[in-house]
Symmetry: C2
Subunit: 395 residues, 2 copies
């Protein structure tokens, strides 16, 4: 049975410790907004997958109980930076399979500053899955241990530059575009506009990535109500967006043996997730109007252009420079500002992407509206690892 997103909601993403809130406060805010947007009461929700990385065990219950105490199944799920899309993936499968007609997917994070330095949950880094990816590259490049995530992606950027002639200015152009987009997003952590020179002049985190090319640590929550065709019809719900196709992939042998940093950061996972999602939806990148993709670092937006089929491998730097991925171009990529400027509370990100696309496909995105958007693509990836690609279609 077809699954639809009936409602979405999110908090503004914030620098940690900006607001006095607990994680359950942010989930109450985002979850209530999604339910109101769908026109569904919490008492109608049958199951709740909740995504987060940093909070204690069963934090999903503590948060969902703010919305109601109806005794329904709650699943706490975690897939690092792809956690939000993982909750959405479970929600869709539960609805498509007939286990439930109305599922609320929640995602949130209350992060500590600099939290991404170690294991994503602050645990022992040496036995963390990311350490395995990192170890492969450390052995090759002899680089230092802190902060590993920026190093892994910085090395992937240098590899792309060496192989294909991608420039620092092209990498900076990704960040300049996404910061510019976020100026119109009231949910974004940052709304300042920077040009390519500003981006290049910012503090270097790991060459060639400057601070303005790296997603920040963030607090925030997002939510989506996923319903069956039958439920939507019975309730005469409006504003539906179809989940036309979706796929999750994890690492393959290639990730660990090719010796390429681009493979280690997951470009092959993204490519395969996109291929499967297109196939299930009967759609291709040519059908897509608007994209929310995982620009945890500027380089990952370029790698993802290639993985999604928006350009041949090696041409992504030129693609962003051409203006093809902003307003007036072939696609608008990250109209929300992306992870770089909207912020990146790990468990919320994948659901916030879905929220932005739902607003875009309904024509409700205000100053950020992509004219005539009918098909949206969300791409959420986590080292460790998992990649999820979701195709959403206006009804």
């Amino acid at each position: 049975m077809k699954a639809y997103v009936a409602g979405v909601g999110m908090t503004r993403f914030e620098k940690p410790e900006t607001r006095e809130w607990q994680y359950w406060d942010m989930v109450r805010e985002a979850g209530s907004a999604a339910l109101a947007d769908a026109g569904v009461a919490y008492t109608e929700v049958e199951q709740v997958p909740v995504g987060y990385c940093f909070q204690p065990s069963t934090a999903g219950q503590r948060a969902a109980y703010e919305l109601g105490l109806t005794g329904i199944p709650v699943y706490n799920v975690n897939n690092n930076c792809a956690t939000g899309a993982t909750a959405l993936m479970l929600a869709r499968q539960l609805v498509e399979g007939g286990a439930a007609d109305c599922v609320l997917a929640l995602g949130f994070e209350k992060m500590k500053r600099g939290a991404l330095g170690g294991g994503a949950d602050g645990g022992d880094f040496s036995t963390s899955p990311v350490a395995r990816h990192y170890g492969i590259m450390a052995a090759r490049h002899g680089f230092e241990m802190t902060p590993p995530t920026a190093q892994i992606f910085g090395d992937a950027a240098r590899e792309h530059m060496e192989r294909y002639g991608t420039t620092e200015a092209q990498l900076a152009a990704v960040a300049a575009k996404n910061h510019r987009h976020s100026a119109h997003n009231p949910y974004a952590q940052f709304r300042d506009v920077y040009d390519v020179d500003d981006i290049l002049a910012a503090r270097m985190v790991h060459r060639p990535l400057t601070k303005l090319q790296c997603s920040p640590t963030s607090d925030g929550a997002a939510a989506a109500v996923v319903v069956s065709e039958r439920f939507a019809a019975e309730r005469a719900l409006t504003g539906l967006v179809e989940i036309a196709g979706q796929a999750m992939t994890t690492d393959t042998e290639e990730s660990f043996t090719s010796g390429s940093c681009v493979d280690v950061v997951g470009q092959p996972m993204s490519r395969e997730a996109a291929r499967q999602a297109y196939e299930r939806a009967g759609l291709g990148i040519e059908d897509v109007d608007v994209v929310e993709l995982h620009d945890c670092f500027s380089v990952n937006e370029l790698l993802t252009y290639e993985a999604l089929g928006m350009c041949p491998v090696g041409e992504s730097g030129k693609l962003v420079e051409s203006g093809a991925t902003t307003y007036g171009g072939r696609w608008v990529v990250n109209p929300s500002g992306g992870l770089i400027s909207k912020g990146h509370p790990l468990g919320a990100t994948g659901l916030a992407q879905a929220a932005e696309l739902v607003w875009q496909l309904r024509g409700e995105a205000g100053e950020r509206q992509v004219p005539g958007a009918r098909v949206g693509l969300a791409h959420n990836i986590g080292l460790g690892g998992a990649a999820v690609v979701t195709l959403l279609r206006a009804v």
Copy 2:
């Protein structure tokens, strides 16, 4: 479509730091055993839910990759002590809904000694979900903060004693039975036999619970291969056990407002999960032969007898004393030794219960065999909270 357990496997449960192993070593051992038991190759597995509480984000990938690098979806799930059954619940729903024909549910834990003192993942206890349950009782009883889990259950035991005349000897009889059962279980952490006097004479942890009535901290993993009817038929798989009914519940208002410690530790969740599972399976407690239930503390076995309908409320102390729940009685409860004696690696427990029941229903349980067992019931619960009841039936 009906879902079946086609194969199970587990490691021996061990005191932490007994074996030199990483969490992925134990998952390789348990997962390989389950696949071999099912006669299924990892390349045939389509999705992998993995349950654990203490390891870093995406530890499930790190562990599942030991079994193969096929790029399939991996979900890391957590529901505190009910984590293992949560992985099984997702596996069943994915198979029943047609999302996959072959799902491998994994669960593991590599614990630190005394790990259950704080938030289950060692995080900030004050914002943990368990703290909320604890806070309700702390306000009522003014008790101290360490170790909360034993205090919560100890207080529930005292409440039961005061209300119904349950005795310390009856609580100890639960532990004596489960320790005795474990003598025949090569997978159990403890295999020593104790009588009621030994149990009562052991160190007091939180009155009336002595150390021999409390589940230990443990390392270990367990796994189950869940397949569709179609997959089983095509592969001519043998040794199948049907998942006849299953339900998960979480807290309701009652948990927080009744003022009863018995409600705070989840007896109402268990009762409702059992009711739903019986209804879905078209079975009742009268049809059940063998039970693996969540005896994290001796008192919880008594509370669960009542929740499952094995006796009227208040009569559970007499039930265990009557011998009705051991070999020769109406049911055999915890033939494996239960959490108290087999051990309790949080993420593995729910799947280890399923493993024991599958062996029992196939007649493969050796010296622990419950004669003629046809229907088994597993009960896995976590503060925080979630309760899962699963009915398994021999094919």
